[in-house]
Amino acid sequence: MSAKIIEKKLIRPPDVFYYKVSAPLISKKARPGQFVIIRLNEKGERIPLSLADINPEEGTISLIVMAIGKTTSEMATMKAGDEILDLCGPLGQPTHIEKTGKVVLVGGGFGVAPLYPIAKAFKAAGNEVVTVMGARSRDLLVYEKEMNAVCDRVVVTTDDGSRGIKGPVTAALEQELSKGGADLVMAVGPAIMMKFVCRTTEPFKVKTIVSLNTIMIDGTGMCGGCRVRVGGETKFACADGPDFDGHLVDWDMLLGRQKMYVAQEKESFEAWKKRHAHAVSEGE
């Protein structure tokens, strides 16, 4: 099944795009925390993407994608009306949503986007939801308005202090936890950020859920390429996850496995840039 892009916009110049994609069946089944796998064309790779919104009424899902490598940059050249050749999902286990009290969500960079449906769900379940979101500087923040609309409170941090509190998200999180504690923390974003979020929450003994974005192919548990160590056991992020107890994740292994194809990813991206130089510079 292919899927049509209904709407596309640049939400953070120059490289973070919002795509609304027609996916009637997926939108009915998808729950916050799940993901899809896309393949753009016949020669394309399969990449997992988190769901930034699910809209069953209009039969769409939303994806926030940063053009950072070959496939994501190629996707950035697509327009509303274009078809994504393959869209497969919903995959993975949904985030476990229940009423626990106060939930602190932590997002870094454009990783805030997949927290949006999760925040809505925690709120709807009757929780107090606080989001701590950070970026290097104010221009790089995404989804601040959206998160404000669904959370009780949003704490913004920037490394350079151009907006909100100056410093990393972990410092603001630590403050939040020392002030008012939390019953649950959930972090989504770069692996290195999630690792340090877990390190921050550990002394507070707050359960911390992380959503792991590993290398995947099929997304159904068939290849094992996404395997992670959690609590001394090997798990498949695609089928057992993507959510895991962050205090049990072997972060060094996870970070190491993400480097598996760095050289090839670069080679592929460079070759593509040469072929499509004009498309990249035009951006939108």
Binding site: M1, K43, D86, T220, G221, G225, R257, E265, S268
Partner: protein
């Protein structure tokens, strides 16, 4: 006039032309080139056309073997392939990948004293001949029955079940989780053994019969089996045994360690051997160890050579006689230069900076045969040794993928998580739900999965016709 005289016995199979080992280990083209017309006629002449047809009994889908060979002898190639297609939807596939030596050819009358008739090669010849010369027609279809069947998984079991049901006039929808149909025929078996173009064409003939194939549809996630039952009169589950096993030894999660499933999927389905023209990468390095002794291990080892590995070592814990792979595959792997370390088991994988550097193995002593008839291996203390490698591929089998069983209420499972289904009918514990292939038996062969698909189709047809 029929020939009265007994045919002359020709003791050995007509050899089949192959790419030379040194040439083929650096390309992905098919190893066996197949019989020419002349060679096929020569080989067909070896068949006695025995009245008791022992070979047919050895075929899980009951291909009318002596009959199709008789047509070949007479040069009636179209009739020969039509005959095969009466019971086998995938002759070009089966002619290439069936373990004929354990099936039809094992029971060949000639095989008692000599080499069996090369039934597989003849089947392949007939199928290839049709692709190049024939009409490639589809069997005549009866009027639609108005019944709808959902088939989950498009591997050999699902395709065969769909074919047989479509032939009865039922409307069949196949749901496939990946973006390309074919299951293991597509993602698992390498190009050099089974060109993907052939798989595509054989599946195309199914589409021509009106079978719909829905790709990117993960049943259990996108649609549950119970939801399928709302829209369809019956469901056949053939999702395969797709969960890769690991050994749970130290170092298995280092970069450079692949499951055979991942390695083969990257190469076959995603065409990583054409990187960067195709996006999906693969890393092989100079030296590769493959753990396991089955066909999948041979496929992985031979793929590794073709991807440029200088040295490929296959590590298997039992001896040559216990190797589960087909003899032909073992022979081909050896010819191409795969090194065999037999009676050897990995103890741990050693890495540096997160990457594989070596595999440490221990030599095994084979004890008396256990009740399974296989000698169980015991490690010899102090026999540890290391093989320096860049890549390790684990080809030690697969388990049941829990996706469908987990999401289907009340479906009885076996202890190992496979779907409990009647061997003869594929009936499960739930009415209207049938299952067959590797998701019932655990990893087996293409043809046995096809057999299961056929038997289930028969039972489903009865069920839909209201027979009990």
């Amino acid at each position: 006039m029929e020939e009265k005289k007994k045919p002359k016995i020709i003791p050995a199979k007509t050899p089949v032309p192959e790419q030379a080992p040194l040439a083929r280990r650096s390309n992905f083209k098919e190893v066996s080139l197949g019989y020419t017309k002349e060679l096929a006629l020569e080989e067909a002449s070896r068949c006695f056309g025995c009245k008791n047809r022992p070979c047919v009994g050895g075929c899980p889908v009951g291909v009318p073997i002596p009959e199709f060979i008789a047509f070949l002898k007479a040069g009636e190639f179209q009739k020969a392939i039509n005959k095969i297609k009466e019971t086998n939807l995938l002759p070009a596939v089966c002619g290439r990948v069936c373990p004929q030596e354990n099936q039809c050819e094992k029971f060949c009358t000639l095989a008692k004293k000599h080499e069996a008739v090369a039934i597989g090669r003849l089947e392949r010849f007939a199928a290839d001949w049709e692709r190049e010369n024939g009409k490639g027609g589809t069997p005549p279809l009866p009027p639609p029955t108005g019944k709808k069947v959902a088939v989950v998984g498009s591997g050999p079991a699902g395709l065969t079940c769909a074919y047989d049901l479509a032939k009865q006039g039922h409307k069949v929808f196949i749901f496939e989780a990946l973006h390309a149909p074919g299951g293991v025929l597509f993602y698992g078996i390498p190009e050099f053994r089974l060109p993907k173009d052939i798989v595509r064409r054989e599946i195309e003939s199914l589409r021509k019969m009106g079978v719909e194939i829905v790709t990117n549809a993960v049943i259990g996630k996108l649609i549950t089996v119970d939801e399928l039952l709302d829209d369809y009169d019956a469901v056949f589950i053939s999702t395969g045994a797709g969960l890769p096993k690991f050994m749970n030894i130290e170092g298995e999660n280092l970069n450079g360690v692949y499951s055979a499933n991942e390695f083969l999927t990257r190469v076959n389905l995603m065409r990583a051997y054409q990187f960067p023209e195709y996006d999906t990468p693969i890393r092989v390095g100079e030296r590769v160890a493959v753990v396991g002794g089955g066909n999948v291990a041979m496929d992985a080892a031979r793929n590794a050579l073709r991807l440029g590995a200088r040295e490929v070592t296959l590590v298997y814990r039992r001896s040559e006689v216990e190797l589960p792979a087909r003899k032909e595959e073992v022979h081909h792997a050896r010819e191409e230069g795969v090194r065999f370390e037999l009676c050897v088991n990995p103890a741990r994988i050693i890495g540096g900076n997160g990457w594989v550097e070596a595999i440490e193995c221990v030599r095994m002593d084979l004890c008396e045969a256990d009740e399974s008839g296989r000698r169980s291996p015991k490690p010899i203390t102090g026999s540890e040794f290391q093989i320096p490698v860049d890549t390790v591929i684990m080809a030690i089998g697969t388990g049941a993928n829990p996706l469908v069983p987990q999401n289907t209420k009340g479906l009885a499972l076996t202890k190992r998580g496979y779907i409990a289904a009647d061997e003869e009918t594929g009936k499960t514990s739930r009415e209207g739900i049938y299952a067959g292939g590797d998701i019932v038996t655990g990893s087996a062969t293409v043809i046995s999965a096809m057999g299961a698909g056929r038997r289930a189709a028969r039972a489903i047809h009865k069920y839909l016709s209201g027979e009990k």
